[in-house]
Chain length 614, copies 2
């Protein structure tokens, strides 16, 4: 060993001990001709080194630069002026000798929490960026979550079973990354988008409880904060019902909260159906740390139709904007009734931005004195405004915000506005964590381009038992495209659930199909011919004929979970070597061209003009 | 939950309890009209079910087949005739009702330890093969090793840090699997052959101790028992010397022995240099559970030349086979002096097989009475034979076996013969585990085809400190190919080590280069131009300029380690979904062709005729 101790462990109890340390030069402070202080850094901490007269002289002749790697011998000494900020702040090392193990050029940016390096520079020199305390803390948190998840799952009889990476291409939804096979010319492996079918086979094989923390791959156009390779905590259980899975995995997340963040999450984890969250929050992963629920002043969002819109409140007032809109939605922003004209104008501009895309914003001020004042006073009497205020549960002092327009856009816009107001009002507290199960998703979604059904979760999700008949007895064919909403398949609910944390989907899963007949019906519903289904998933259909148990599972987005626990918006900060938005690793300069010989061996050639024909 | 208990947990203490079990029908035994026994199986065990008269009647009408999935309710009852073989053998369940959860066709082979299924059938129906107790035990062992390794490494401050799978192709030695990038037309990612450079960057970043249990990929022609994707326990440490790594990782393996196998490996782990093992055992991963060391009767194997051959013992006897051979090697097989002519003939045939490739076998019997009898009595007097016997440490009753021929082939053949004799004589005991460190490998190997040096371990391995000067001061160019043995580079020793278990290399590693100058010299030694080196490994050379610490590590072949601990020759038995020797997954039928649209999107096309030009 190049050291007897790390830079994080010495305390005054060790005073008098002769030690050897090794690490990086964080700072050099020459106090006088005879005293130089150096902060020595390693993974475990920082220790102050004191260089006396003779060694300081040497340092003047041969200066140590930032990030030099050195080894020092010396005596642990109690400091006269202690540094309470530092765990090792009670001591320093009186250096007797030192060796330079490696030099360093001046780093292209400072190795500090608030670095002066831009994103591109930091990514190119990621090995230096990883030295920064903030990034290191993120990766330490990631490892702690990894460790906690494994411990919890192990204690609950889950087994880590590895599934293959070189599999078969069965694109459903997202694009596969593919790998040409040299030994099988003209053929390709695919990288897994998830180990879905394998974990199901393991259930068929009787392994009962499976988990894996595993890389998955999707060749999608990268939006901000998506990565072509990402990590899942992937789990599956046999002989379970939905309730078993919900309680097992809220247990997992609570365990992680406790172990990693020291948070004792004793609250009951709330559960809402997909219809409820869409109705009340306008999206399927609501942030429930605050209220500000949506009030629907016009028509239901083509949900089950069980929830009633308050259409009568705005009817017959002659206000064209509301009358002609497909949907009119309101929220009550608490304590904002005294917004100035400038502030409401700014909010109006905010909803008119292209990302939000609304035409305008209507507001109703619920003044502290009980009076109401709106931007649509011309059309609505105070009584009518009062009725709206009551319906949206606005209190004195609140500001009601109303959006109107096309259904989907308006719903999304109001959902965004709600989150924005929550943020502005400090209701999305960084240290508050609020879990939510969203249940009973629709099984299918309508794909307009192809006039067919696609699986909302994935093709292996089972319908609610009460909907099995609907699925079996009806043809999936959509005879009249414009009437797809009336098709029986549009109302089938899935045995599917998402776990939402502070407005982010952190995990999702379902109870699976496990009977060949129903799985075949599902493939047919998605527009596959029996031949296609057999070609792509023959192994799974086969497996279901030999005693497949009822089973279900869940997968958590590990990168996302870590970033939320770490209080960051960006998953990239929690990945050691991430790729940029073009899928490039700028440090490696990958992807890159390969040799002609490699191409020949793989029986492929480039065809960069062929894309134009797509 | 479909069950209150598993099939492995009920004991007589639970007698009287009403329980629900779920699992697979292992066997149905109809004892009489009124009694049917069914063995119900799940991951945790087998429980006997007793169906009374009424239910037996139902079973007669609707029989339960093997591998049906059923759920039963009933009362735990103490058995009259207990089965001591079974943990649950004291009880049975008096079934009150049952439900068929899923049916099963008759499996294509029996789900038993000694199945009637051939290899191909078992691989096609791997999900059924995985149900067999033997395969399940293997995967349980694999998980136990995984868990033990993680616990040990965690306790020793190692962090699991994930490295990317979509990286840059830098083929050195083995071929890369590549992945066309859709977003970067004409460019490719590569799948990692190991996370080597990333773990080194993590050391440069100061993470100090890293580990990962991680998939790696090599596109090699598959010999028996190689897989295109395989798993490594990959580790790296900073500020260490060789001794630190050896003791840390023999600790790991001992911990695994203890935790997984209950073996307290207190023996000192033997250490031998590469020269010693090549000299004494003829290969670099000797099985040292037994002796039978090689005696060299002619010339040294172009090793360092420090070890002396016993050439004088066979000189000047006029025996052309020995006189003309490059190498003559002997071993003494203990207790085999009474081998019959038939037996020695059979051994001669054995060494003449094409896999071994020798011309013949010379033997010397050391009879119990002290006399010696050989197949070359014509040339060697009993005195000379006695001298040979003494040199090879043969005792009375031993049989000396001698091979002669071209150096490399003879050495390999003798190494194989030694292992074969060890096997035949029962010296390779299944329950004995013997670890060995092989140290001081050569840094370079000579590649005849290209008349250049290749890295024996990999291009990131450092030379012994005493050889750094030799490496720096000499040109790697081999002016005269036939004199490569005399080139100074041929004698440079590496800071590299392999861990050998029972004749298998289970892990290997090295102290790394960490200075740019030396790393550049290494790349040059391997025939790379400075431009190539920068193009391929610029990020690593760059990293070494910003304070790279001394570091080193090791990687264990996880599949192999598990198979040895499980007492099997085949790693495939320890992989849930392995590929066959053509790299195919016969269950999935992968690799397979992909759609033209996928090819177009990836900017590639097939070129199956291009290979012919290679």
């Amino acid at each position: 060993m190049y050291r007897t101790h790390t830079c994080g462990e010495l305390r005054s109890a060790q005073a008098g001990l002769t030690v050897t340390l090794a690490g990086w030069v964080q700072t050099v402070r020459k106090l006088s001709k005879s005293i130089t202080f150096i902060d020595l850094r390693d993974r475990y901490g920082i220790t102050q080194l004191l260089f006396g007269e003779e060694l300081s002289q040497q340092l003047t002749e041969n200066p140590l630069g930032r990030e030099f790697v050195i080894q020092v011998q010396g005596e642990v000494t109690e400091r006269t002026s202690k540094n309470a900020q530092l765990p090792t702040g009670d001591i320093e090392i009186k250096v007797s000798s030192y060796t330079i193990l490696n030099k360093s050029m001046t780093p292209p940016f400072t190795i500090q929490d608030d670095t002066d390096g831009g994103d591109d520079l930091r990514m190119k020199y990621r090995y230096l960026d990883l030295r920064r305390q903030t990034v290191k803390k993120n990766l330490e948190l990631r490892y702690a979550v990894n460790r906690a998840a494994r411990n919890y799952l192990h204690e609950n009889s889950f087994m880590d079973l590895e599934t293959p990476f070189l599999i078969k291409s069965t694109p459903e939804g997202a694009r596969d990354f593919v790998v040409p096979s040299r030994m099988n010319p003209g053929e390709f492996y695919a990288l897994p988008q998830s180990p879905q079918t394998f974990k199901q086979l393991l259930m068929v094989s009787g392994y009962d409880r499976y988990y894996q923390i595993v890389k998955c791959f999707r060749d999608e156009d990268l939006r901000a904060d998506r990565q072509p390779e990402f990590t899942q905590i992937d789990c599956e259980m046999s002989f379970v019902e939905q309730e078993d899975i919900l309680s097992m995995f809220e247990g997992l997340i609570k365990y992680i909260f406790n172990t990693v963040k020291g948070i004792d999450y004793t609250d009951h984890v709330e559960r809402m159906t997909w219809e409820e969250v869409m109705w009340n929050y306008g999206n399927d992963k609501p942030d429930i740390r605050f209220g500000m629920k949506l009030l629907n002043l016009k028509s239901a969002f083509t949900l089950g139709g069980k929830l009633t819109a308050h259409g009568e409140l705005i009817k017959d007032a002659g206000f064209g904007v509301f009358d002609n809109a497909e949907t009119v939605l309101a929220i009550a922003a608490p304590g904002c009734s005294e917004y100035t004209r400038k502030q409401t104008d700014e909010l109006t501009e905010w909803v008119k931005r292209p990302q939000i895309g609304m035409q305008g914003l209507v507001y109703i001020k619920c003044n502290a004195d009980g009076s109401l004042k709106s931007s649509v006073d011309k059309f609505y009497s105070e009584d009518k405004l009062k009725a709206i205020a009551e319906a949206v549960e606005a209190k004195k002092g609140d500001l009601i915000l109303v959006l109107a327009g096309r259904e989907e856009r308006t719903r999304k816009a109001m959902s965004e506005l709600r989150l924005e107001m929550g943020r502005r009002l400090g209701l999305r507290k960084e240290n508050e964590f609020k879990l939510l199960w969203v249940l009973d998703f629709p099984l299918f979604e309508y794909a307009e381009e192809e006039n067919r059904w696609v699986a909302r979760h994935h093709p292996f999700t089972s319908p609610k038992p009460s909907d099995i008949g609907v699925m079996i007895e009806n043809s999936p064919v959509i005879a009249e495209a414009e009437k797809y909403l009336e098709h029986p398949y549009n109302h089938i609910k899935a045995n599917a659930y998402d776990m939402v944390l502070n407005g982010n989907e952190i995990g999702g899963g379902s109870l699976r199909l496990y009977q060949r007949e129903l799985q075949e019906k599902m493939f047919a519903a998605l527009g596959m011919t029996p031949e296609e289904a057999l070609h792509k998933f023959g192994f799974l259909l086969g497996a279901f004929e030999y005693g497949a148990p009822p089973h279900g599972g869940i997968a958590f987005g590990f990168d996302r979970l870590c970033s939320i626990l770490g209080g960051s918006e960006s998953i990239r900060d929690f990945i050691a070597f991430p790729k940029n938005n073009s899928g490039r690793d700028v440090m490696l300069d990958a992807p890159s061209t390969i040799d002609d010989k490699q191409l020949l061996e793989l029986s492929i050639q480039l065809n960069t003009s062929g894309r134009d024909s797509l």
